[in-house]
Symmetry: C2
Subunit: 306 residues, 2 copies
Amino acid sequence: MARPLVECVPNFSEGRRQDVIEAIVSPLKNVPGVYLFDYRADADHNRLVISLVGHPEELQNALIASAKIAAQCIDMNVHKGAHPRIGAVDVIPFTPISGITMQQCIELTHGFGARYYKDTGIPVYFYEEAAMREERRKLEVVRKGQYEVLKEAVKNDPSRLPDVGENALHPTAGATVIGARKFLVAFNVNLGTTDVNVAKEIAKTVRASSGGLCHVKGIGLALEDRHMVQVSMNLVDYEKNSMYRVLEMIRMEARRWGVHVVETEVYGMVPAAAMLESSAYYMQTAGFDPDQVIELKLLKKMMEDA
Amino acid sequence: MARPLVECVPNFSEGRRQDVIEAIVSPLKNVPGVYLFDYRADADHNRLVISLVGHPEELQNALIASAKIAAQCIDMNVHKGAHPRIGAVDVIPFTPISGITMQQCIELTHGFGARYYKDTGIPVYFYEEAAMREERRKLEVVRKGQYEVLKEAVKNDPSRLPDVGENALHPTAGATVIGARKFLVAFNVNLGTTDVNVAKEIAKTVRASSGGLCHVKGIGLALEDRHMVQVSMNLVDYEKNSMYRVLEMIRMEARRWGVHVVETEVYGMVPAAAMLESSAYYMQTAGFDPDQVIELKLLKKMMEDA
């Protein structure tokens, strides 16, 4: 059996001091079982976003080590930045990649949150799939008013009490929002027209907020330099709303205006299963097993051996 | 830079004695840098087929160790089996998977052949892309008359001299055919008719031997139990003749008879690039990088670290 793999994209409230950024990242580098894909600091946001994939145990250990460094180096009482935040370690979302169900990932998240508070003294709010109060599924509800408001509210507003911890934030590191969520696929469809209304109308037909597919968020916008328009989307559940289904629905709607799909864009990372599901549709492959893909089988073998 | 990866599917002339089979496989198990995917022994063929993926250096070391065991345990003078063969280690084909070009794979094959003869005393014939004589590209030319004929012919027929070695086979292990070849994708398209002539006619339009696509081999056959017919193909260069192109060509030809594609089958392993190329066609993904696929990026990271 291959060991479970999860993705984690922790966000830290430091995007300016290079030495602090490197110190936070260092426990995540060259750790067996933890794979650092990328990290990007933004000075305006004063924020650091790290992309990791790893096995749960090793990943959790490395995250705790990083969080301890962040708590030492970042003082939320003096932190300023354009991005909303409530803590030095602002959010830690876990996403199941393979060998782990969402339910197991939620359990992992809750276990991690308890240990995180014990080891760092930073109180924890759970969000998205791991939320313990329904309204906390939404990150903006947890972060309402940001650090400055929450610091006071937590003392006497029961609705702002952390899920793990007492009625006080960490004196310098604030609080951390920890959650479990599905992998989000950023998928854009570019259309051969300069009429942005076509993209806006189509976005309405496919997105959940206007009554379309339940797990699609989307807007229509103009790509003026390219003389095209775009339906820009987030697929928040690529298993329920497959890429091919979204694409073919847009293609079908575009016919009303005699407009064609010029190209599509997958922005950022995508799980192999999302691509294979779409190729299975178009290629009509029956009984195809991801283990037939050499690289996926090899990855499984390497993880078994590791 | 990720280290090169090659696939290797060595064939040994032993499909009956379980202890010999396990002895041959043992140097290929639990070796860092060598990943044993599968091994299948066939008693009628009296043959063992092993699927491996690995880094060139580690893979070559392990193969030499296996070959030495095979040479000790198998005597070609008493070997019998339904499958054509000239040696205890009958064929060793290398296939580039990633981080290595075909030209580099050919050089690797030639270097390996020289070392193989030096270490085992078994003469070597190079075939397919690594052939040193044009006619030896074809395995059946090298294996003509099998072990029994070659054993005598090698002594005085210059056309049967090995590429590495003298004018005599190894006294018990015979000779080995070593080569480099592209990855072969086995791809079948099932059609909704019981008229096998439709599949036969379509096979003629797509396969190289009848003037179709240069890197497609194929036949039409009936799937009687399923009330369908099949165009059964080997894509011997999936980069030049992509899966989607072959499928759409078959779909287009089938229209002549009002016949539809019911499903397709990918038999055995397939490189990720072959699937992604086809999904890029259907999904019209512009600028898609395989590194965007989480599992492929993770595999690269793991190989960098290894």
